[in-house]
Symmetry: C2
Subunit: 587 residues, 2 copies
């Protein structure tokens, strides 16, 4: 599928520079996005090819305002209840490697110098939507390959799976301590895409305007209602919480054994009938959810593909644990879990249904900002000032929480290293030193020596046991604290994009009077924009309330688990030492 | 007092080399000990001065076999009971700096190449007695000053105290962690002196021979009896254990305030009447005890003069604690505590009695190996094979224990650093991270947030408290474990010299037949030597049994204290965390 673009502003080519003169409103076909330096190569309707400034055009990602009606079933979802997933996470021992967030910080988009040069596609991408893949550093070279989000849906080539399954990583990166688990991973996918809106004065139809000024809104059964509950606007929650179990990873192979892959079994709580999926299917689902809901709902990235394990089993276990976490979080979301594509993934009956469902999902046109056209808040419109305030508040909160979560990850990572590295070594040395001295004492030939030496040996062995306990403890408590915060780090990394869409919409509505005055829009359109930004705000509020209620549940649960295990840990140490103490005699 | 020397072997001077021809048996006056290269400058009875090989002469340290009878009172000491001192040690926080023992290892005397060059006074000192001061590295330059043990008793110059009291150390050496107490000290004084016996074939009257072949043994009330108890030979123990309290350090000054010193108050349990002493008086006492008992009883060095503290108060406290430990150990020893010089130190009534007592003690001639002449075992003689075996056994044990004690000190030092440095920092950071996230949560504006945030803040504060607990714990337990092992390290450092005297005596007795055959000694003298080496062995056994019983008591006590405090520590942490856990609600 060729990539189309609309010209936003007139541009006159300079002779001899291989440039192309274009007019506002003209449609171009992109022939090369990898020119760099702020340029794109395009072909006009007359077949002429030349360079155009990338900021002067808008890449068409979906046919404007032609919204399909999907057959989303809402029959499952009846009321708003707090019933969240219980994890089936096995105990394993990852080493968390905290990546420096500089240069890849999705939040930096709001701090960056707005006049900064837009010398690549990412920085000047005028769409305001999320992209599917790990974001490249926006300031690095453009030549790093084309982001998948810009491409048409991938062909269903079952052979194109090198990127999917395990690769030999040529040994695993081991931590300095050399102890602890062998899993090492980066942070969650950063889903940030540097949204660069309003670079040019005046009005453009890019980004949220697609929805704000859309003539014709979707009608029918696929509506997403928003109610006002105790905590404010909320999504419509199903009576029964969907959940699923990811389990039973199996190795499959193709091409007469030349290629191997892992297939996971996913069993949804609704049908209780397992389906099989490979990582690449999860990735396909992620892409669809991101395309469809990403403007309204932060879709967390899949567990990093670059997870590497010391052993294949560890790697598979770790990926499975995290796929379980990701699926559970998606199941928990009322909008995502009830979507047709998500239901397809969980309940397809045969290969034919799967393939047909895939094709249909890939053709879904209610994607990007158009998701807002399906949202129906059962509440009066709110004015722009309140919309703006709410958006700012969510932005501040998610940024602050992102910092807090990263701090816990950094500190937890340090603590993990110490608990599995130097601390057990030290307690072991203390234990050995007591035992060695005891064995010297035993050689004294002095009578009545054994009362002391038996006790000292026991004390020494106790410290060796404590060493072992220290080394094993992080798997029992810190692991879950880290996993939860790691998941939230991934989730929070999606907010800049989601909130960015809202900010762009608000900015546009703020310009309403000016746009009317310059006849860019009609007074009626201005009123429509205000109503629609209110709808967007309800969606954002519902999403934030969903986030908050999940967050409170998750942190309450993980803190309790952490402290419970810590109490057990220190109590066991104290009990062991009390026993050792009891072996000494009062002389 | 001029230093006299006896010529052991004929030496013929080479012309033009400033050498002096001497004959065996001749008496010389040492005029310069600091020549180096194995030479000493001496004057013969005819007034001629010249260089003599230091290995050819024997420095006279006391008039041979003229033993004075001191007025030692034994009336206080009636039976052998285990009643040891209770410490009055205040809690302070030293940083133990473990010195590498290479080059200064008192045990190396038995491992060193016996043919190694004796190019200075220490290495070739033919006396076989201990010296009072920190031993210089025997392989370093001779020019480092004269060891006090070779000098006559120091004049009672109250002005000569620069070395005694505190000096500005130009800042204190701080550990890397920067935390913990500010006291830093080296190991205990190494009292090792490289005893180099039997360098020449044939018989010499140096070292233990002074006692083994002494014509006339002391008679009278100053006898030191040895009994055979349940554990074997034991000293005569007093019914009431002497003890004393070192307290109330006061700053004094002299020379119109130009010089300052610290005076400690020592109150013995017998008189309950305090006496005052400065560090230099302790040092004088140490010298006397070492001279008098060092061949039979390891006299541990005083706490290192080089203790430096961050603050004057810390320095004084630390020195006081260790002077208390040293005095308590001396009080515990039945022979030392009942000696006239020790009693003088503890009970002198006025300046006059102190000065007269000092002069008398300095003139005491029952010093060095001659202490054995006062020992009277109430048991049959033991044969040389058994004497030899016992000596070897004690040698092996004390060497092995020295290694074990040093291992504990090294490990404990590491543990101290970690407990006061990185660990509290880490727990504090964990606590801060929880509190920071909690405070972010508080800003959400979501209702019902406080149930979680109150609990998370409490959990964060709990980890800050745990951080504080970690930092303070070593003062409560590890401190005493370290102090005890440090004291034993000092004590064990004295054994090579003490055991060396015995080994030299055994070697001499082994040569008995050869010496008789070559008419160096009479057959009667050979029998006397065998009897006397048996007496020496009883003394060593009594001393080892004293050491063992003290060791078992000390380690039993310190291990109990350590484990007791460790149990409390971990129990308190568990209790704090249990409380923090209780603040979370089950949702």
């Amino acid at each position: 599928m060729a990539l189309k673009a609309q010209v936003l502003y007139d541009f006159t080519a300079e002779p001899g520079n291989n440039e192309l003169t274009v007019k506002e409103g003209e449609t171009l076909t992109i022939t090369n996005q990898h020119i760099g330096g702020g340029w794109i190569e395009a072909q006009n309707s007359r077949g002429e090819i030349g360079l155009v400034p990338e900021d002067y055009i808008e890449v068409s990602w979906w046919p404007l305002c032609v919204v399909s009606v999907s057959s989303l079933s809402l029959s499952l979802f009846l009321s708003f209840i707090h019933h969240f997933y219980c994890s089936f996470i096995p105990h394993i021992s990852p080493l968390y490697v905290i990546q420096a967030s500089n240069g890849n910080d999705p939040w930096s988009v709001w701090n960056a110098d707005p006049s900064g040069g837009s010398n690549n596609n990412w920085a000047s991408n005028p769409e305001g939507t999320q992209t599917g893949k790990t974001a490249p550093d926006p300031w690095s070279s453009v030549s790093q390959g084309h982001p998948q989000a810009y491409q048409g849906p991938a062909e269903d080539d079952e052979w194109d799976d090198e990127w999917d399954d395990m690769k030999s990583t040529g040994g695993y990166a081991e931590s300095e301590s050399g102890d602890g688990g062998g899993i090492q991973r980066g942070g969650a996918h950063a889903t940030s895409m540097k949204i660069s809106l309003n670079k040019f004065p005046g009005f453009s139809k890019s980004g949220p305007e697609l929805y704000l000024l859309c003539k014709q809104l979707t009608k029918g059964k696929d509506k997403l209602p928003i109610y006002v509950g105790e905590v404010g606007p909320v999504w419509f929650y199903p009576e029964t919480q969907l959940d699923c179990v990811v389990a039973d990873p199996k190795k499959g192979s193709k091409m007469y054994g030349l290629k191997s892959y892992i297939e996971y079994q996913i069993t949804p709580s609704t049908t209780n009938r397992p389906v099989n999926h490979r990582y690449k299917h999860f990735d396909w689902l992620y892409e669809r959810l991101l395309d469809k809901f990403g403007s309204a709902i932060p879709i967390p990235s899949l567990p990093d593909k670059q997870v590497t394990g010391r052993f294949e089993e560890e790697f598979i276990k770790m990926r499975m644990e995290r796929l379980q976490g990701w699926m559970s979080r998606m199941c928990r979301h009322p909008v995502v879990s009830s979507s047709e594509v998500f239901q397809l993934f969980l309940t397809y009956k045969d290969e034919k249904e799967w393939k047909m469902g895939k094709r249909k999902a890939e053709k879904d046109e209610t994607v990007g900002v158009m998701i807002f056209s399906t949202i129906e808040p059962e509440a009066p419109d709110i004015d722009l000032i309140e919309v703006d305030q709410k958006c700012e508040q969510f932005s501040r909160f998610t940024k602050a929480m992102d910092d807090g979560v990263k701090e816990i990850l950094t500190v937890g990572h340090e603590h993990w290293k110490r608990c599995t590295g130097p601390l057990p070594k030290e307690y072991q040395r203390i234990g050995k030193a007591f035992q060695n001295l005891s064995s010297v004492f035993n050689s004294s030939g002095y009578q009545g020596e054994s009362t002391l030496t038996d006790a000292m040996t026991a004390a020494g062995k106790t410290y060796e046991e404590i060493a072992q306990m220290f080394a094993e403890q992080p798997k029992k408590d810190l692991h879950f604290l880290m996993e939860t915060n790691n998941e939230y780090k991934g989730l929070l990394g999606c907010f800049p994009d989601t909130i960015g869409v809202h900010k762009a919409a608000i900015d546009k509505v703020k310009e309403g009077d000016k746009l009317v005055a310059t006849s860019k829009i009609t007074p009626h359109e201005k009123v429509t924009m205000a109503k629609r930004v209110s709808v967007m705000s309800y969606a954002l509020q519902a999403e934030m309330n969903h986030f908050h209620s999940n967050r409170i549940y998750d942190y309450n649960r993980v803190m309790q688990l952490y402290l419970e295990e810590q109490v057990k840990f220190y109590e066991t140490i104290a009990a062991k030492l009390r026993q050792a103490h009891g072996q000494f005699t009062t002389m």
